[in-house]
């Protein structure tokens, strides 16, 4: 049995003891290796498309994180305020609405958002790629922000079970400050960071999935070409699908492995980018839980 034996102080030891940073490094390094490989073996137009797709997906994911944080913070704090107000009607109504929203699968919420987007595109109301990305990020954020709101509520509720809130109230400190500064800012940053990283992962997954679904057929007026180039968009491209299909050859012809990483590079690169990112994001989130003892 292997027993933990690391006691050194080298940068490597420090990195291996902080799993979140270790996996962030692995993620960047892995993507770096892929970038070099693609620069060498992937044709130039496909390589350019891949880079644009990655950056667009990253940007959309970051916007989802930002929107989710704003919406989640607002909803979480509002629910908490309404819950402790004299009239419970506001709390009941808002809880009821969020309860319904929770029962709608994320992909359906995103799909509805895309249906609306196709109508807007078709009617020429939205044209710019950036606005489309903002719309997509907003749609995904609506589907996932409840997780942020839940984290915020859990944190506030946890501190309410302690003497924390009451003790500060008795000293005349404003409730607004106790919630926003003392609980959420000073005591919940790592919890929020963990949740936002998870949200980022989900957003990449949902983006890719919805793009793949669109490739099957969502509208006759709008197709993938009308949407901004993202990883999912590129994966759903016929060439990429063919590349992924080529993996089947390995079952019957294992020797095919020698050419698969040069001949079918576009599809495999996109798939690797997505799967590897999902894995690393999961590991980074877990590392944060471990380092900050969030569990």
């Amino acid at each position: 049995m292997a027993i933990r034996t690391f006691t050194g102080n080298s940068w490597l030891d420090k990195l291996t003891s902080k799993k979140d940073l270790l996996w962030l490094t692995i993620w960047i390094a892995g993507l770096g290796v892929l970038w070099i490989w693609d620069a060498l073996f992937l044709n130039a137009p496909a390589f350019a498309r891949l880079q644009t797709a990655f950056l667009n997906s990253l940007l959309t994911g970051l916007m989802v994180v930002l929107f989710s944080l704003a919406l989640g913070w607002f909803l979480g704090v509002s629910l908490n305020t309404l819950e402790h107000s004299k009239s419970k009607i506001g709390f009941a109504v808002l809880s009821f609405v969020t309860d319904i929203l929770r029962s709608i699968p994320q992909i359906i919420a995103v799909l509805i958002g895309y249906v609306v987007l196709t109508i807007l595109l078709h009617n020429g109301i939205i044209r710019s790629s950036f606005v489309q990305m903002v719309w997509i990020a907003g749609t995904i954020a609506i589907a996932v922000f409840l997780e942020v709101a839940d984290t915020i509520r859990q944190r506030i509720d946890y501190f309410r079970t302690l003497d924390f809130v009451d003790a500060m109230l008795c000293c005349g400190i404003k409730e607004r400050r106790i919630i926003n500064v003392e609980i959420l800012w000073k005591n919940s940053r790592s919890h929020m960071l963990h949740k936002l990283i998870a949200i980022f992962g989900i957003s990449i997954f949902l983006q890719c999935s919805i793009d793949f679904i669109i490739s099957v057929g969502l509208s006759t007026d709008v197709s993938l070409i009308n949407f901004p180039m993202t990883l999912g968009n590129l994966l759903a491209n016929v060439d990429s699908k063919q590349d992924i299909l080529a993996l089947s050859n390995l079952f019957t012809e294992p020797g095919y492995v020698s050419v698969i990483f040069t001949r079918h590079l576009q599809g495999l690169s996109v798939a690797f980018c997505i799967v590897f990112s999902m894995l690393c994001i999961y590991m980074i989130a877990n590392g944060i839980v471990r380092r900050h003892k969030l569990a």
């Binding site: 309860d99 929770r102 699968p105 679904i213 079952f251 999961y282 877990n286």
Partner: protein
């Protein structure tokens, strides 16, 4: 029936409130969808009447609306029959153009579908697909619940055994070899290193597989496996999209959090078994991982496990919702004809929004039913432990 009447007992106020909220949510959504479906139906009737009117023009014999001369002749005829109504006549021509375009481009026209909306026939068809969807969902949910616990327990015990990852072990091996610099040991060290790296590679591939979106897996095996079979869908539902790994991770988090609680220390000072070695006299029997019902009697892990499981029950709701998302993606992205969620995509494509709404309502009901079942289960567990 007795279970249902016990729910209504006055001691169960909390649960009754939850059920009331679920019920109200279902009624409200049903009302919203009903209004939406009715509105679509009204608009369809109006549109059909308008189309029928326009169709009369298209049915005029010897009139080819693709021919500019015929179109001009038609427009002038309208101006003669409806003199002074230029705007009206323009609208008629535009409507004719639109209908002709739709007849060319709309897939529903092309496939000869009737565009009748939510007919009884369609409801019957959808019901069959829905039942199949629920069956697959139920099976996958049950298997994930069982598998996730086992994976989490295994991971927790490995953590307690201080097992380092294969890569870390390999790194340590390299360090030791460099530090020792004993020539004779190089051969065995290289062999060990190779084995560790191979294990790391296999583990990496398995992990990547668990995070791979279903459509990537399906496409990569499409030519060798029938990817539209129910069995394949169940398998894909379990292993893909990260559902299993995330659910297992949640249970693992509960195990870690419970293992830090004070009652575990009290159990230790009461001399309950506390070794995490597999099959050691005071350790954990490996066979428990394979048993349907876990049992770690006389071991501190029993308390950790039951407390973690207790918290895992309500957490299942969010995983169930994510699982539904995964199944929807599988059915839609894999183009599996005749399946509930693929049908949703088709109906959106045909702009049959009433049918699409009905399908979405069905999915909503599935999640609500899961939430209700989990709330009742959680309530029963809480009652058992005096909450």
């Amino acid at each position: 029936m007795s279970a249902f009447s016990s729910i209504l007992h006055k001691e169960n106020t909390g649960l009754r409130t939850r059920l009331l909220i679920h019920g109200a949510g279902i009624i409200l959504m049903a009302a919203v969808f009903w209004v939406f479906i009715s509105a679509v139906e009204v608009s369809r009737i109006e549109s059909r009447e308008s189309d029928n009117e326009i169709q009369k023009y298209l049915d005029l014999s010897k009139m080819d609306f693709g021919d500019p001369a015929d179109r001009l002749l038609f427009r002038e005829s309208l101006d003669v029959f409806y003199a002074g109504q230029t705007q009206r006549n323009d609208s008629v021509v535009t409507a004719i153009d639109n209908l002709r375009q739709r007849q060319f481009s709309d897939p529903a026209y092309k496939t000869g579908d009737t565009l009748d909306g939510l007919t009884w026939n369609m409801v019957r068809r959808l019901t069959g697909m829905y039942l199949q969807f629920i069956a697959v969902y139920g099976i996958v949910l049950l298997l994930i619940y069982l598998l996730a616990q086992r994976i989490a327990v295994y991971r927790f015990i490995m953590m307690k055994q201080h097992r380092e990852s294969y890569l870390t072990q390999a790194l340590e091996l390299v360090r030791n070899a460099r530090a020792n610099r004993v020539g004779s040991m190089w051969g065995s060290a290289v062999r060990k290193l190779g084995l560790l790296l191979a294990k790391a590679l296999v583990k990496g591939i398995v992990l990547m597989l668990l995070f791979t979106p279903a459509y990537v897996i399906a496409y990569s095996v499409k030519t060798t496996i029938d990817t539209s079979s129910i069995l394949f869908m169940i398998l894909l539902g379990i292993v893909s999209n990260g559902v299993l790994i995330h659910t297992a991770n949640k249970f693992f988090t509960f195990l870690v959090s419970e293992s830090r609680k004070g009652y575990v220390q009290t159990a230790i000072v009461k001399n309950l078994h506390a070794s995490y070695e597999w099959d050691a006299p005071e350790g954990i029997p490996m066979r428990t991982l394979l048993q349907i019902k876990h049992g770690f009697r006389s071991h501190v892990f029993q308390s950790i496990f039951i407390n973690a499981r207790f918290q895992f029950i309500p957490a299942l709701k969010e995983h169930a919702s994510f699982l539904v998302t995964g199944l929807i993606i599988i059915e839609m992205a894999l183009n599996i004809q005749g399946h509930f969620c693929y049908e949703l995509l088709q109906q959106i494509l045909y702009r049959q929004y009433d049918i699409a709404a009905a399908i979405i309502f069905g999915i909503f009901l599935t999640i609500k039913a899961t939430e209700i079942a989990i709330d009742i289960w959680e309530h029963k567990e809480k009652r058992k432990y005096g909450y």
